[in-house]
Symmetry: C2
């Protein structure tokens, strides 16, 4: 098996080749890759069948098996997604700023690829082609490290893409998959400084935590979302009921789902009760603090069997389930403090008719995306108009919130002189 | 002694206070801090005398003692620098982009402070006040960890600043200094995730390496500069001689000094000889590869005693000394490959009269700052017109090259809705 340093060197070479390619050339490579996926469906499905057989033997949970399963339609969707990315604007080589200096030097700040992007992910094989398309479009080489559960599928997809690239005149090493799936290899991959310019983990909180703790390569944390909605004193119940219902229940397993309500004391009866009653239509369990519990337990239309007493732990938990916590506060300040303490800096929303309160919340909440009178579910590359998304950053450096193509670039200064010395 | 977590919490609280302050308020705080430094000169000088006494006892090298020494003038300069920073534009709270969406949501991408910035640095006490001024101006709280050699000076400066801030109505914890100087504390500081948003090491390569290897907090690498100048086939000797002389000898100890020449074979006689002859006026030692050595050793005006045979190690070394390596190449491609292999991605320059070659070099060299016909010494916040500089990033994420005020900010999305659900 090929060593990690060797993989790193090949990725760097591929990146140096990609930096020379025009947007048009790269789009040709993407279309060739999409066509190859469609042509090689049988090969990919056969590999996927092996992964599914192991999954069954290992007793994998049904939800995970569904994420692992490929079908003709899903492979077509992967190819379609590559074609969509080819259609987007090339974010590389843009002049971001021009700075003329008195000594005649002209500084041009240009967008450029990051170089070599590492992705560590779990069972979903479609990440293999998605991550390839996004990084290739931005002239980055990518090194992928998927989970052992999808190794046959990932290897098949990567091989199809590599062959297609090679036939289309590109370095096949623009995409490489690390075939070893042990932890030791993963840990060494996270410390491949000099070869890997950034590592983006995609998957469970545990995976992301392991990457943050072990990596010496720069990491962009993604995906952990303990998202809050604050029901202010003047929240409009006609907006609050559908917004919370949407944010909590439209898709429970996603990072931009609402996990916690913070409620102004004066909105407990008028707003919280109808909001929880609506959530209970989907059997959402509410872990309420004392004040909220007292108001909810005797209220009309509230099923007491779906109420729990909240513990400290509830406020720090991203449930990803039909469950929500409720914290009562006496003021906007207290709401902001609570949220800044427990949030994962992903997405939070204030529901209020008071514009000054809204503006204060938007300014003082320390999260990537802060909403006024809207659902947290909009934190998404598609909803933001980015066309594509590699993940949602909860980091503060380089990229925050949805990461599209532009967030896969960095910049350099090109400086034009005619003999200047200092 | 106060624990690191406690320091982290206080920094976070200070950061949440700072985010509410206007540019005008912050400038008032900066001017108060500058005035306090001037008023408390005696206290600071007395503390510095203690550090100097230890330095003498420990046999510190003269160059380092000079960097450690404070004088009335140097304290005035520190205060002046704070006043200069107060005069700069506030980079926080700027609308970077507005994205209206079809569903009526309005996304506003705003510049915001990073939050809590950690700085790990070595003996120069002026970093204490510089780092404070830059971070305070950008509404960031700062936690400083200086070297043991300057502990009395740093503590005195930090205390003067903290008292001044408190008297001016700000959180004194906007600046905190970690008083423990042991490695264990430094290592725990580098892993203070949740409290520290970014760590910027300033100092020797060894220090920076230790931070990169041990930190789990995001790091922006700074300062390592193995900078190259490429003398192309058509380099103009009238530009090349002063540019290389400036880049190599104007200040040998800085990260943007030139450490290596790459020379097209056809420029060896016409350009390299006069370039090296000029460097030899300052007794610069040249470690030349075989081809260059052969050309140089017999040349008129070249002192052979200043010539060495280059080893592989020379090409990877940032000398920070009166020494330069020379690599001969047969083509621009070979020059680019060599530089991308050995550079630290800081600053490189091509000297050529061929515009196509220059443009190719500027595009394909993977460094923060790439020059055409100019000295690498211009990579500097002042020269770039940034007004101030916290360091020069050799990282690729978030900030590249000189880091001014803007590079100490990040962004968030403020999203205005009126009831939108997905």
């Amino acid at each position: 098996m090929i060593g990690l340093e060797e993989i790193g060197k090949k990725a760097r070479e591929a990146a140096y080749d990609l930096v020379k390619r025009t947007g048009e050339e790269k789009n040709r490579g993407l279309l060739a890759a999409a066509a190859a996926l469609r042509q090689q469906k049988e090969v990919i499905l056969a590999a996927n069948a092996k992964d599914l057989a192991s999954a069954e033997k290992n007793g994998m949970a049904a939800g995970l098996v569904d994420r692992l399963r490929l079908t003709e339609e899903r492979i077509e969707a992967m190819a379609d997604s590559i074609v969509d990315i080819a259609r987007l604007d090339d974010p590389v080589g843009k002049v971001l700023e021009e700075i003329p200096r008195d000594n005649g030097l002209k500084l041009v700040k240009m967008s450029v690829p990051i170089g070599v992007v590492g992705i560590i992910y779990e069972a979903r094989p479609n990440v293999t082609s998605d991550a390839f398309a996004l990084t290739f479009k931005t002239s980055n080489a990518v090194i992928l490290k998927g989970g052992s559960d999808a190794i046959y599928s990932n290897t098949a997809i990567a091989n199809v893409l590599r062959t297609a690239l090679s036939e289309a005149g590109f370095c096949r090493d623009s995409i490489q998959l690390i075939e070893a799936t042990d932890h030791e290899t993963a840990n060494r991959f996270m410390r491949l400084n000099g070869y890997v310019d950034v590592l983006i983990p995609r998957g469970s909180k545990r995976l992301i935590q392991a990457v943050v703790e072990n990596a010496s390569v720069p990491v962009i944390e993604t995906g952990a979302g303990n998202c809050h909605i604050y029901l202010d004193e003047t929240a409009d119940v006609k907006k609050a009921v559908p917004i919370v219902f949407n944010a909590k229940t439209q898709r429970i397993g996603v990072c931009n789902a609402c996990e916690s309500l913070v409620v102004h004391r004066k909105a407990l009866s008028s707003v919280l009760i109808p909001v929880i009653a609506k959530l209970q239509e989907k059997n959402v369990v509410t872990a309420a603090d004392e004040q909220a519990y007292a108001v909810l337990e005797g209220a009309d239309g509230i099923r007491k069997e779906l109420l729990l007493h909240a513990t400290e732990e509830d406020f720090g938990t991203e449930y990803l389930d039909y469950r929500i916590s409720v914290k009562t506060v006496d003021s906007l300040s207290e709401a902001i403090d609570h949220i800044n303490r427990y949030s994962t800096r992903h997405s939070e929303s204030i529901l209020t008719e008071d514009a000054a309160n809204a503006e204060r919340f938007l300014n003082e909440i320390d999260s990537a995306c802060v909403y006024w009178n809207a659902s947290t579910r909009f934190t998404d590359g598609g909803c933001f108009g980015f066309g594509a998304e590699i993940g949602i950053s909860t980091a503060k450096l380089h990229a925050r919130g949805p990461m599209g193509l532009r967030e896969l670039t960095t910049y350099k200064y090109k400086i034009y002189g005619n003999g200047q010395v200092r």
